[in-house]
């Protein structure tokens, strides 16, 4: 067999390139090698989808590829912990959302403190969850629903995408604000919870506009309420859905901010480069096109500005958690 010889030849080639390579590279400036983008979620979700689009475009802006590393599990804490522990040289970055950053760390013991250990690079958009129901249910508005729930305490099956998730948190806010007792049914993610709603198992659930759009259009489900103060006035399908704020439910305010974070010990110069790069990204034509095609908005908030609001939200969540767990 000729293999030992060919192995040898290739091996020598590798050795030679090893020795020659220092001569070939240019001076180091940030970034001089690929950046790792950690996602604390599993493959295939909306977060992953955003990340794939973003990393393919930002490579041109930064001059180096950005490689996605999925570290799912522990309600986002495993991935967050991974970045918290990583070397703060600017080459490891976290793509998270406000639930993972400001809420979940307060519900369990974690070896890091997100407020202290992370700084925001940028917020690129937010999603406004909506409360949805099948059209064959006896209520047509959120007020009708609440009345029904009050008459039938504990009988409503309320599905959500996971404990302390983007669907569960506003649900708890609404349940508390309306003073009703319901039967929460946890699902593993947005997909299964939407499916449970469509098959009639759940009476009410939460979804983002992107997921619910085609079903609302076909008349199978209707959106009852949108969280926050503002309606989705630009949305052709959902512009008539009332917002929680206008109906007096001011506390039902949870929205999912998609944010990029870096360890707080990252050198200031590198952080600035990253912040500028992301700002450029949100103005980039292909990025806007990509977001439009997946049905998402682009709402940019500078990292430094977002950092100012984080602590306040963190405290708001502390109060919510206390109320819901009685701890």
């Amino acid at each position: 067999m000729n293999r030992p010889t060919s192995v040898r030849i290739i091996g020598i080639f590798a050795l030679v390139s090893l020795l020659l390579s220092p001569m070939m590279t240019s001076a180091a400036s940030f970034p001089s090698r690929p950046i790792t983008l950690v996602l604390p979620v599993g493959a295939g979700g909306s977060h992953d989808l955003h990340a794939r689009g973003i990393t393919s475009i930002i490579a041109d802006i930064l001059g180096q590829p950005m490689i996605v590393k999925l570290v799912p599990g522990g309600a986002g804490m495993k991935g967050t912990g991974f970045v918290a522990k990583a070397k703060p040289d600017g080459y490891t970055v976290l793509f998270s959302h406000n639930g993972f950053d400001q809420l979940v760390p307060q519900t369990r013991k974690v070896p890091f403190n997100t407020m202290r250990d992370f700084k925001t690079i940028a917020k690129i958009n937010h999603g406004q969850p909506m409360f949805i129901s099948l059209t064959n249910r006896p209520w047509k508005t959120i007020k009708g629903f609440i009345a029904y729930a009050k008459k039938n305490p504990g009988k409503i099956n309320w599905g959500h995408s996971g404990v302390w998730g983007a669907g569960h948190t506003p649900s708890m806010q609404l349940v508390k604000a309306a003073g009703i007792k319901v039967n929460f049914i946890p699902h593993k993610g947005g997909g299964p919870s939407l499916r449970a709603l469509l098959s009639g198992q759940d009476d009410i659930s939460i979804a983002f506009p992107t997921q619910a759009r085609s079903h609302a259009k076909s008349g199978k489900l209707r959106a009852l309420l949108v969280t926050g103060d503002k309606r989705l006035s630009k949305d052709p399908v959902f512009k008539n859905v009332p917002s929680a704020g206008e109906l007096g439910f001011k506390s039902v305010s949870f929205q999912m901010d998609r944010i990029f974070m870096a360890p707080s010990k990252t050198p200031a110069g590198h952080l600035k480069t990253l912040r500028t790069a992301f700002e450029k990204l949100t103005k980039h034509k292909s990025f806007k096109r990509f977001m439009r095609s997946i049905g998402e908005s682009v709402v940019f908030v500078k990292g430094a500005d977002y950092d100012k609001t984080r602590v306040q939200r963190y405290k708001e969540f502390t109060a919510l958690i206390k109320a819901m767990t009685g701890k």
Partner: protein, 190 residues
């Protein structure tokens, strides 16, 4: 579903005794886990706003490990009786030591990956195993040891965009980065 050939049921005395040891370990760990299960559960979840009883997170694991403890006790008895009948006299020490060496190599590799980074640790692992398995020509060993990590690193990091651990020792890390950039330039043209 065993993927080995059916070997005789004869066991060496040493193995038979070791088996009892394993059974005892199983009993103690499973009983311990079962009894102390509530302490092992950190509740971060919500118990209020749940009007109806769902399974407590303690229930299933406690049941499972309790059952395991019972079964392991039976296992202890069974293996104790087998000691008398163990009369295989083959000397397995050669196999044992070879296996043991491999175990040590595997453990060291796992622990070193964090410190030396994937490239360097794979290089060491490859040369050690190749030598251990009888590859004598130092040229073959060296070529293989360099080829394996470089190729794997290149294919996975540059072609498939999967990130592999980087060394904590700065000069090794920078060195590997430069090598990758060089190869990327050469083979991928940018």
């Amino acid at each position: 579903m065993e993927s080995e050939k059916i070997t005789s049921n004869l066991v060496t005395p040493a193995m038979a005794r070791a088996e009892v040891g394993i059974a005892l370990v199983l009993v103690t760990t499973s009983a311990g886990l079962s009894i102390f299960m509530p302490d092992l559960i950190a509740s971060g979840g919500i118990r209020s706003a749940q009007t109806f009883i769902t399974l407590s997170p303690v229930f299933f694991p406690r049941l499972a490990f309790g059952l395991l403890a019972l079964l392991s006790i039976g296992y202890v008895f069974k293996t104790s009786f087998q000691i008398a009948g163990a009369d295989d006299t083959t000397n397995n020490s050669d196999r044992f030591f070879r296996a043991g060496t491999m175990v040590i190599i595997a453990i060291s590799y796992a622990m070193v990956v964090d410190v030396l980074g994937y490239g360097a640790s794979t290089l060491f692992m490859t040369s050690v195993i190749a030598l251990f398995l009888g590859l004598r020509r130092w040229r073959s060993v060296l070529s293989l040891s360099i080829l394996v990590p470089v190729m794997i690193r290149f294919i996975f990091e540059r072609l498939l965009f999967i990130s592999l651990p980087r060394s904590e020792i700065e000069w090794i890390g920078t060195f590997e980065d430069m090598l990758m950039v060089f190869l990327t330039g050469l083979l991928l043209g940018h």
